[in-house]
Structure formats: structure tokens, C-alpha cells
Assembly symmetry: none
């Protein structure tokens, strides 16, 4: 089995690979909207058929939500699990799309050819890079590269309600030596990247109540406590003047970045000025002694995602409101425990409540950070393969966002995960006019062929 004919095959079959992707993109598998339930099932069936064509035993397995696609195939070597998701984000506001989001098209742009459609990058285009690599491999070699489990979810864009129960119930089928996940991006559009640090997330909604009812600020202003003032004071105190979060114990389980990784990140020569400049900013707002890349990839944060209270309509109303609300989220890193920090945050808020005020909490997201175990030689092997394909040294990077699946694989299946993806920052995922560069799709397929060539033998 040799790699060169597989890569040749990938190059020659690119038009057919694109046609297949467009077939999947035509299915409007919006998981959050019940109106598209049948379409989600159709997308799962489409993938089952495609996997059967590759020699997998594949099935669309029902859940209380949308089905999971689970397929088993190949023998020998290392047992790898591949994860992707076939569901997509809603398309509103539809009027901002330049064409039907589910009528995909290859378009020429000043930066090259793109596949334009909802899901082109997130995650149908990405998951198909892996299946197309397998197809070329099978065509050339007659077999799959090793024992493979394919696991494709249909609820990633709607909070994955069925995921953990499903993984617990099907642990025996899903457990492999290593998970491969294709739902991330290149670093700065050109550097192939393996994401080894993902931040966790802790979400809280706070409601502070003062007076028993809304009051007239003339009749009570001054004498009656104003819950907006109380809330503002608490939120203002979340960080000190150096950007350090003030919840007691917040940094207890935050590890400092290993020197090797810090050095690698510095070598990326990330353009901090451009990163901030692109969104109209010039000064990093977080911890004083950290670079923005560190802030985003390796440091925890506290953000207020929403605030409301009193009169917020047109004009003015001299109300002294009974309640004030905020949605607060924390991005977590290292060994920070969401449950422990949720309790610490609530205690910290309660400790600042003046007399006559009450607070209620409502918990939202809750996922620990993911820190990948890169001592597995597969990581260095994959890094070499990616470097070869892209002609630029591949990097271990962090990710400011939360991709909880990696942590779930560790927690529920005892399996490490390697996140490799080919998205670009301008892919407009979750936005109107989503696209995936044909170059990313093509080189993504070639990348997986190279990675599998190096790691499949175990």
C-alpha cells in the first residue's frame, strides 16, 4: 500500500467528490428546527448509503432527537474513530443570502473557488474530506487503511441532547484507540493545525430582585435599593484592574502553559494587531500580562453575554425596577471544574448582596476544558503529514471556543481525540453565505490520506 497513487486518485476524482458533497448539502438538515426533522433523517440515510458503498456496516440509529450514524469497517492496525456532524445551523436571516442556502454552487471568487451553501464548511464539507480520503484509499488499495468506526451526529448545532446518553449506551461500539475530529480550522488561513486545547464553558443567568415591584424613581429614588445598581456593581467586580477574575479559587486549577507550547505559539507570529484591528479594536482587554493568543487559547475568561433590566424601550421611563438580569459565561481551561466554579461564583455573588436583595441563578452550559494528550505518537505523525501536505510547519494550537465532544470522548469512552480541520476564518459558518474553499476540501482530503498513511498501522 503506497500513498502516491492514493493522492493521484484524490486529485483525479475531485470533480466527483465535489458532486457528492453537493448532494449532501442539498439536504436542509437544520437540527434545531422541528420542521426539518425528516431532512435530518434523510441526511443520515444519505451518509449510511455512502458508507455502505465504502464497505462499512452502517446504520442510522434512532435517538429521542435526530439519528446517529454509526459505521464499522476495515480491519487491523490502529482502531480509529472518526467524528463529524451532519446537521447545520438555521439560515436566517434568509434575505442576506445571495442564493438558496440549500442549492450549493461552486463559485469563482478573487481568493479562489468556493463551495457556497449552508453546511459547506460546518460540518458537511469537513466530514466529507475524511470519507473521500477513505474512498480513494479503498479504490487504490482495495481495503480501508485500518479498523475504523465512523460516528456522525445530527444534533451538534442544537446542544447535542442525545449525545451523552447515546455514548453511554453504545460505548462498546464506539470505543476505539483514538478519535479523529474534523470540525476545526487552519491557523490564520494557511498553517495546518492540530487543536490540542479547547476551552470549556460555564453559563449562568442571574436575576437580582430588590423592591417587591417596579417603583417610581421619583417616589422611591434614593431610599429604595436599585437592583440594576447592585447587578452593575457585582459585574464590575468580576475582574480587577489587571483583568484577573475575582471569584475565589477561580485560578486554583489553571495550569501555566508548558514552555514548549508557549514557544511554539510565539513562533506562529500571530498578528495581534490585525486580529483586534479586524473588529475595530487596538488594545487587548484581558489579563495585563498575557498576549491575546494566550488569553484566547489558554486563559479562562468571564464575560457578560447579556444584561437587561428596567425600561429599555424608546423614550424614557423613570422606573426603579424590581429586577435586573444578566447572562454571564466563563470560558474554562486546564483542570477547572465547572460544577465547583458554578458554586464558587454563586457564593461570590451571594456574598455581595446588600440587605433587601435576593438572587436567583439559572445554570446554562457546563463543559470542562479539553486538553489533548499529545504524548501519543500519532500526534507527531499527523503533524508531519500535515506539514508535508501544506508546505508549512503544522502547529499545535488552542481554540477559544468549546467543542465539548473531545472532552466527552475522554470522559465517557476513555479515548483521546485529535482535532484536525481545514476551515478558514472567512468561511462565514453560522452566518449567511457560508462557504468552504475548494482548496481546503481538496487538500483536506489529501491531508487525511497522508495522516492515515502514517497512523493507521499503529
Amino acid at each position: 500500500m503506497s500513498l502516491a497513487p492514493v493522492l493521484d486518485r484524490i486529485d483525479r476524482d475531485l470533480p466527483e467528490s465535489l458532486e457528492r458533497l453537493m448532494g449532501l448539502l442539498r439536504i436542509p438538515s437544520i437540527s434545531t428546527d422541528p420542521a426539518f426533522k425528516e431532512d435530518c433523517a434523510r441526511a443520515a440515510d444519505w451518509l449510511v448509503e455512502d458508507l455502505k458503498g465504502l464497505g462499512f456496516e452502517a446504520a442510522s440509529v434512532p435517538t429521542p432527537g435526530h439519528p446517529m450514524v454509526v459505521a464499522q469497517g476495515g480491519t487491523g492496525g490502529r482502531h480509529l474513530l472518526f467524528y463529524g456532524h451532519y446537521d447545520v445551523q438555521p439560515v436566517d436571516p434568509l434575505n442576506l443570502w445571495h442564493r438558496d442556502p440549500f442549492d450549493p454552487e461552486i463559485q469563482d471568487t478573487p481568493k479562489g473557488k468556493v463551495i457556497r451553501a449552508r453546511g459547506a464548511a460546518d460540518d458537511k464539507g469537513q466530514l466529507m474530506t475524511f470519507l473521500e480520503a477513505l474512498r480513494a484509499w479503498k479504490t487504490v488499495n482495495g481495503t480501508l487503511p485500518c479498523r475504523l468506526t465512523i460516528f456522525l451526529e445530527g444534533e451538534e448545532e442544537s446542544g447535542s441532547p442525545s449525545l451523552i446518553p447515546f455514548m453511554q449506551e453504545h460505548a462498546a461500539e464506539l470505543k476505539a484507540d483514538l478519535a479523529l475530529i474534523c470540525d476545526t480550522g487552519l491557523h490564520e488561513d494557511r498553517v495546518p493545525a492540530i487543536t490540542t486545547m479547547l476551552r470549556g464553558l460555564l453559563g449562568e443567568e442571574i436575576t437580582i430582585t430588590g423592591p417587591a415591584m417596579d417603583l417610581h424613581s421619583g417616589g422611591y429614588g434614593g431610599a429604595a435599593i436599585n437592583p440594576i445598581r447592585v447587578l452593575s456593581k457585582i459585574l464590575a467586580g468580576l475582574q480587577d484592574e489587571n483583568g484577573r477574575i475575582q471569584v475565589p479559587g477561580f485560578y486554583d486549577d489553571v495550569d501555566e502553559l508548558p514552555e514548549a507550547i508557549r514557544a511554539q505559539w510565539q513562533a506562529l507570529s500571530f498578528d495581534h494587531a490585525k486580529f483586534l484591528g479586524d473588529v475595530g479594536l487596538s488594545v487587548p482587554a484581558g489579563e495585563k500580562d498575557r498576549t491575546p493568543l494566550e488569553m484566547l487559547w489558554s486563559r479562562p475568561t468571564a464575560e457578560v453575554n447579556g444584561i437587561w433590566g428596567g425600561y429599555t424601550g424608546a423614550g424614557f421611563k423613570t422606573v426603579l425596577p424590581s429586577e435586573a438580569h444578566a447572562k454571564v459565561s466563563f470560558r474554562l481551561v486546564s483542570r477547572q471544574d465547572p460544577d465547583k466554579l458554578r458554586a464558587a461564583f454563586r457564593d461570590w455573588v451571594r456574598g455581595q448582596l446588600p440587605a433587601d436583595c435576593k438572587v436567583e441563578f439559572h445554570g446554562h452550559g457546563n463543559s470542562p476544558a479539553g486538553v489533548m494528550e499529545i504524548s501519543d505518537p500519532a500526534f507527531e505523525a499527523a503533524r508531519g503529514a500535515l506539514t508535508e501536505e501544506w508546505g508549512v510547519p503544522a502547529a499545535y494550537v488552542g481554540c477559544g471556543g468549546s467543542i465539548p465532544i473531545a472532552g466527552y470522548f475522554k470522559t465517557y469512552l476513555g479515548m483521546d481525540a485529535m482535532l484536525i480541520g481545514f476551515g478558514r476564518d472567512d468561511d462565514l459558518i453560522h452566518s449567511p453565505n457560508e462557504k468552504y474553499d475548494v482548496e481546503c476540501f481538496h487538500k483536506g482530503i489529501r491531508s487525511w490520506a497522508r495522516v492515515l498513511d502514517r497512523i493507521a498501522k499503529g
Copy 2:
């Protein structure tokens, strides 16, 4: 002309008087919301018709905003002007109302009968006490008690943008010997009161902008400035730990209360515990060294009346918003100059803006405090009349709210004003389920008949 038959007539006609009030309450004349423009005009027309029925020459006079109702009637005696407002506050949050705010009803409550509707107390019920007193007077005596000008505004709840230009343009029609204003309350639900100190008002809307667009808090959280955090910090710093407002120069023109007035207020034996307890509170929240009555009647305040930014819907969205907003108001006393303090507040906010943030201001209300000239013998005459009707010595009191009209009458028409009203603290004005006690409405009508009987002859 004798008083007793007028009072009898008022008692007998109470059911009809209530019916008329309910007709006015059915008109949703919310002045701050442009959607209710036609309704404001309808309320003005309703009053014009009612005044014509009392023998007035009355008209709804257009302004750039909502119309003014101006009526002239009666002859001889002292020329009195009566002022009220026919517009009402918005009704949100609508879900806290137990019935349609514009479908008034007489309800039995443990504390007696109430008229339940938006505007029942503020100010439709109150202004109708005066018109009903005139109606009974006219029915019994065949004439109005003296020369009268009626002046009813439709923009009181939205900052009165047309008021000053209108008064300047129509000064000749509006100028009288003394103005009577019915938009205040009883003291502690039972003591008839003439309000001689009113706080002024300064309203500001602040918009703080950070990033050029809404950002994903995973992709930017930590590194990008969050305008909600900036706004919270500014609002949290409005008062120090002793409740002192931190805008430089804020207290420069605040006079200490004269000893005589302080003594009278102490004699009122105001029940501070009950005042706060009625709205679910126990601890005064304002300046540490002041009683609640002083805080409300003679001290300036700063309040946040509304705040909003980011995602405020159901569930969670990890957005780092581009903008955050607040509506802030200051109650002013003594010689505090709204224009000077507006500039000082804006400078103070600008001085706290971090790099990369912008602020925009939008001015709302703007009125100085009012201090009445009580040497006119009409004041003592009215105090006697009120004492007779309510069986408790009437008092000169202060008012935490802003009724700028009294100051405007002095400034633009050279006319003193006497503020008499019959609202109670539990009327829920500006809140859901506003009401006006039938007893207040009834005795309010009787009170005006008595006051007019004493002061109309001049």
C-alpha cells in the same frame, strides 16, 4: 352660592363621575410610544368635549407632539389656572397586569373600592377630580366659581417636549393669578398635603460601543473589550459606599434644609419602616446620614432606570456584544442646574472610557427643582379647606418626583403654583395594576369644591 349643596351633589353623582372617568381611562394615551399617537389625540378630544359641556370654550391645540387642551370659562373672582395631564405611562411588563390596563374596572379590595387601570391615579383620575368639582358647582349654582383656565398636557410622561414653546407662544391665554396642579398625593395615605418642594429631573441615555460588531465570546472573549463590562463599571461608580454621587460638582448647588421645614417634617412622624416595608424593603439605600424622607424630598439622586445589551432572549448565546446601553436619571434639588450637571455627567463618563470604546449620549428630561412661594394667602386658605374635608391637619410637604410644570409656570408665566393631589403610595403609578382609590376620587372632588369655595373669590 353655598358649599353644602355642592358637596351633596358630588356625593349623589359619584356613580356618574366614575363612569365618565372610566370612559377617559379606556383611551390608551401612552405618549412616549408613537404607536399611540392617535389615542393621545382622542383623549384630548374627549376632554375638550367634556369641558364644552361644562360651559368652557375649549380646544385641542396641535403641537409638534401631542395636542394641548386649553379651555377658558367663568368670570369674576380670582383667575385660576388648572393643570393636569391626560397622557399615561407605558404598560410593560404587560404580563404582570391582572387585566387589560385599558379596560378599567371598579374593584373591591380589603382596603376599599379602587378604580383599576393605567392612568387611574396618574393623572386621569386626579385631573377629573377638578372637572367633577366644577360640574357639581355648575349644576348647583348655574355658573363656574370664578374665571378659570384649564390647561391639560399630553406629554407629561414623555418629557414634555412641546410644553415650554407652547407656554411661550400662548402666554397671554395661560397667564392667571395662581395655578392649581393636581398630580401629587396624600401624605401617608391620610394627611391632605400641599406640595411645596419638588425635585427636578435630568435624564440621559448612554450607548457604549466596543468592538465594531457582535463577536463570538469563544473566539474573542478575554482579548476583546466587552462594552457591558465597561458600562457596569461606570454605573457601579455612580455612588460611593456612603451613597454620595461621584460626578464632580454634583452637590455644589444643593442647599441644606431650613430648620423650620425640617422640624415640620419631623412632626409628620413619617413611618420609614412602613414606607420601605410596603415595597418589600427594610434598609434605606441612599446617603448614609439622611432619613428616607430627607432623601426623597430634599436630596438629589442618581438612578439607573434601564439597562440592556447583548443577548437577552431565552436560553444562552455566547455573544460578546458590540454595544451596551443604559438610561440614567438624576433627581435634582435646590439650585442644581440640569444643563451644568448634564455636561458634568458626560465628562465624568468620558473620563472613564477605556481605549477602543466610544460613548454616545442622548438627553431626555431636563427640569430644575421647584420650591413654592407659600406667602400667598391662598395656601393657608386651601390648607384650611383640606383640613376640613379630611379631618386631619393638612401639611406642606416635599415630593421626590419631578413635576416641572410648577417651575415652568413661575419661569415662563410669572405665576405661582399650588400642588394638591389625592394619590396614595400604593397606587402603583408607572407600574402594573395601577389603581386610584374611589375614596380619594370622591373626597378629591369634595376637596376641590371646598378649596374653590375658599379661594375663588380672591
